[in-house]
Subunit: 452 residues, 2 copies
Amino acid sequence: MGEELEKLSTHLDNIRDLLYSDLRQLIEQPSVSARNEGIRECAELVKNMLEREGFDVKVYDADRPVIVASITSSDDRPTILMYNHYDVQPPEPLEEWNSDPFKLVERDGFLFGRGVADNKGDIAARLTAVRLLRHTYGELPVSLKWIIEGEEEVGSPNLGAFIKEHKDELNADACLWEAGDISDEGVPNLYLGVKGLLYVEISARTSSGDRHSMYAPVIPNPAWQLVQALNTLRGSDGRVKIKEFYRDVRRPSKKEAKLIRSIRLDANKLRQSLSVNRLTEKNRVKLVEKLIMSPTCNIAGLVSGYTGPGAKTIVPSTASVKIDFRLVPDQRPEKILTLLKRHLRRFGDFEVRVYAMESPARSNPDAAIVKAAEETAREVYGVSPNTWPSVPGTGPMSHLIQLGIPSAMLNCISHPGSNFHAPNENIAAKDLERSVIHLAMLMKRFAEKIGR
Amino acid sequence: MGEELEKLSTHLDNIRDLLYSDLRQLIEQPSVSARNEGIRECAELVKNMLEREGFDVKVYDADRPVIVASITSSDDRPTILMYNHYDVQPPEPLEEWNSDPFKLVERDGFLFGRGVADNKGDIAARLTAVRLLRHTYGELPVSLKWIIEGEEEVGSPNLGAFIKEHKDELNADACLWEAGDISDEGVPNLYLGVKGLLYVEISARTSSGDRHSMYAPVIPNPAWQLVQALNTLRGSDGRVKIKEFYRDVRRPSKKEAKLIRSIRLDANKLRQSLSVNRLTEKNRVKLVEKLIMSPTCNIAGLVSGYTGPGAKTIVPSTASVKIDFRLVPDQRPEKILTLLKRHLRRFGDFEVRVYAMESPARSNPDAAIVKAAEETAREVYGVSPNTWPSVPGTGPMSHLIQLGIPSAMLNCISHPGSNFHAPNENIAAKDLERSVIHLAMLMKRFAEKIGR
């Protein structure tokens, strides 16, 4: 064990109780953004914890308040911005929980409770890391800014505008986004980017109501129109057939390609954990590349006519499909929407409704914050991390990357069985504690690298 | 007015009350097969009416009894079989009725009540026609058989087997199926056949549950699989692309083609009444031909993944489609099913579930019963009828045609606004009374043509 790691571990022993008491308080304060339950109370709780650790705290009032906190060092130290959210998913179905979702319960080394993985555990770990650094070194190696929103679980509808409006206030040398995770084999996963998203509903209507299907020979069927149009959107190989769809796709850099090749992913384990009958890609490297570098056109929902039990002989009056396009840099959801609409025009009279647009973004793998996280992860976990150029999913991280702030998910709180958004959400106590130490070390290392 | 017509009209005046009192009793006895409500009571009521008119009546016991009645003439007269059903559709939604569905109510010359058009009005008219013939001529010109089932509105699940089992008992020179109708312009519509039906549900499943759509690049999506397979089933012109699908389609005979050309159908009125934005065929003759002579592959229902409000980013685990194939002579539903399964095998692992199979059938337009109906319709209605080689829909008429009994819908009870299966079901009193006279005349004419 390195000297630094040993020192931090020893000091953590002295403040461990605070980590768990913070986490307990956060879990016991419900904060369900979907129904605005406990949101203000939770914001107040987080504010008090931040002030206790010496942060200057502003609470921007809104339906769900945004907290912006900061600790500014006296000298010109580099600044790290942190992003979290204090809201959680609804706990339902309650009957599937083995304990009260709003109590922190430990069983066999695992901590259970709504939000413990996503991402109140992360908030508690970061608060403790700040204290740990001061406790161990007498001061913080960096200036800190922290934005904690209360509506991530309902899609962060206002975050982009907020960041734009407060971009000077939030400016930093790097951003620690929400946490990464630890694989079943104990390998820390770090993520440097997000895919974008364009979520649309495409509908066709041909009459005021369903008609007897004896008229099928002579009246239009919107389900057939939709099926025919859909079939022109995507090939059986998954490739999107909209003209110019791939035009702005940035090829993986040499460094990104190297990272992709080095990622340890057990394809068979992935298949089993998803319980699908097969993966569409067998080669490990191609599997990783597809997962994080391929844009998609995915049917998320499809409905027309009669969908109940048994038979009903009708020509439907409407048909609609929900599609999520996951995008990669430098695709822009606004442009993809334009291309989609232009494409559809050739196949009939479709209505296109937009539910979500989010830009893709990837941070530079050579950024100091990434290097600092990789190096210290190796020391804390005893193994090289997987550095993923992107997650396969989408998040509002692009708003910061677009401002030129290298942003990434670099703390490893959760594990593949953490049950995000599901009953019995949990993290391992050991992972939580290691993440505190990793976080403290990576902040210090980052400051050393920046060398200010 | 012809002499015969005048005589029958005069005699009808004397027995008109019976027509309406029979109809009133039939309407006031609910007989909803879908929930077995009043079925036995209605069978008993019909049996009593039949016996009153001198029929020998057998009631075949079953969940919903089948009534078979007959009047055998002393000499060797030709035999007409009649088919009806004493059950009705459920009356819901009740709040949309302007009067009690189980009361016979007259307003402005129209008779309202559940079953008045489909097809208790027909039963009452036929009972009255029998009495009218006896009253006018002292005897019946034909021997009569009458099968009245109680589960037509739930798809006649046992009729085919019943007819096969009782084919000697039901044997006849011709069959009068349920009634035809009168167009808005006062033209009687006669129908000589039915389309067949193959109703299937095709499903795909790729995992045990829906998955986060970030995995879309590497896991199969059953909705896409289904869309791609569906697209191979049917061209955008509506033509079915299953190999050998059209192989057994019998071309319209010269006589049928001539009938099609002579049918008066207002395409614009049809479009308006269906309130569709357009018909897929503008030419009147082609429109009629498509409607009754083209087999179809119709999507009646389609569902996959998330179909609620808003967005949900998932890869669905299942996708399924309900398809009804309307078939024409000499396609067989069993064979089409085999062709379909063979076709689908090329596109993935689909489950095919069969909900309904019914054979198509058309009677010969030159059959004596058709000629008799056409001639007498001209006399009663003062206009040549439209003789449709087939209805666009499906019914169990094929079971009789396949036995070699010319069968057709030749009485004109309902009109385009009769609201079949819907609230405020109705017929015009005038149409009901004319159908009694037409029926009496066509029976007499039929006997003269057969000349026995």
